[in-house]
C-alpha cells in the first residue's frame, strides 16, 4: 500500500507546473493566476524582512516581475513557490541594503544572540489565551513579538510554521543548509514562546479592556 502511495506521490504533478508551462507558452492569464495565488504570502515575507510596508509593496512587484522575466531559468526541480520566495528574499535584502545606504545585509546577521535558546519561563498558559484579547490587540502583540527576532529567524519561522514549507524547501528558498534551518527554527520557536508567555501565562495575564472597564 505504502509503495503504491509513494509511486503515486512521485508521479503527481504540482498544479503550478502546468501553469508555468502555459506562461512559457505565452499565456499571460496563467501568470495572473500564479500571482493571485501567492501575492499575499510574498507580501508577508517581504514585510517580515523589510519591516516597511512601502518596501514590501515594491519587493512584491519586483519579485513577481523578476520571476516572470526569468521563468525560462526555472528548472522545475523545486516548487515554483520555493523559487519565487528565493527571489523575494533577495529583493527584500537588497531593499534593506538601500535603506542602510549600501551596508551589506545578509540573512545571517544579528544571529549571535543566545537569547531564548534555553527556556526560562515555565508558567503554564491560560486555556485559549488569545481569546483574552480582541483581534487588533492580538495582532499587535504578535507583531511586537515576532519583530523582536532577528530577520534570519523570523523568515525561517514564517516559511516553516506559517507557510508550512518543509525544512528542505525552506533551506532551498533561503540558501541555507538544512542544519542551519533546523537550528534557527528551534530558536525562533523558543524565543517566540518565551515572549508570548508574558501575555498568555495563566496567573499574570493582563486584564482585557473589557475587564478594565467593569
Amino acid at each position: 500500500m505504502s509503495t503504491i502511495q509513494s509511486i503515486a506521490g512521485q508521479n503527481e504533478q504540482h498544479p503550478d507546473v502546468a501553469l508555468v508551462e502555459r506562461v512559457r507558452a505565452g499565456d499571460i492569464a496563467a501568470y495572473d493566476t500564479l500571482v493571485r495565488k501567492y501575492e499575499r504570502q510574498i507580501f508577508r515575507i517581504a514585510l517580515h524582512i523589510t519591516q516597511n510596508r512601502e518596501d514590501a509593496e515594491d519587493v512584491m512587484q519586483d519579485a513577481f516581475l523578476k520571476a516572470y522575466e526569468k521563468l525560462d531559468q526555472f528548472q522545475g526541480n523545486s516548487k515554483f513557490y520555493t523559487w519565487l520566495v528565493r527571489i523575494a528574499v533577495n529583493e527584500s535584502l537588497m531593499r534593506l541594503r538601500k535603506r542602510r545606504t549600501g551596508k551589506l545585509v545578509s540573512i545571517d546577521e544579528d544571529l549571535k544572540t543566545e537569547e531564548g535558546s534555553v527556556p526560562r519561563d515555565f508558567a503554564d498558559w491560560a486555556p485559549n489565551p488569545e481569546q483574552n484579547y480582541n483581534q487588533s490587540e492580538l495582532a499587535e502583540i504578535l507583531r511586537k513579538t515576532i519583530q523582536g527576532l532577528p530577520h534570519g529567524f523570523r523568515v525561517v519561522f514564517v516559511l516553516r510554521d506559517v507557510d508550512r514549507l518543509s525544512t528542505e524547501e525552506t533551506a532551498e528558498a533561503l540558501g541555507l543548509s538544512v542544519p542551519a534551518v533546523k537550528s534557527r527554527l528551534l530558536r525562533a520557536r523558543l524565543q517566540l514562546r518565551e515572549r508570548l508567555s508574558r501575555y498568555f501565562r495563566r496567573k499574570s495575564a493582563p486584564p482585557t479592556a473589557q475587564e478594565k472597564r467593569s
Partner: protein
Amino acid sequence: MTCTEFLAILDDVIDESIAAETRTEIETHLKKCGHCEVVLNTTRKTIEIFRCHEIYELPTEVSERLHTKIMDRCKKVR
C-alpha cells in the same frame, strides 16, 4: 531522558517526526517533568496562534492595485 535531551528533539516532537521507540521515552519524561510539558504545549500553541492570525493584512484595494501594476509591467516585457 533528560530535559536537555528532550529540548534537543523538541522540533521533531512538534513536527511529529519521532521514531516509535523514542516516543515512549518522551512520554515517560513528560509524565514526570512539568516544565518540559509546559514548554512543549506552549510552543505548539505559539505556532498555532501565528498560523491562525494574519498579522500583516494586505487590504483588497492595495492587493488589487499591486496586482494590476505587476500584470501591466509583465505585459511590457514580452
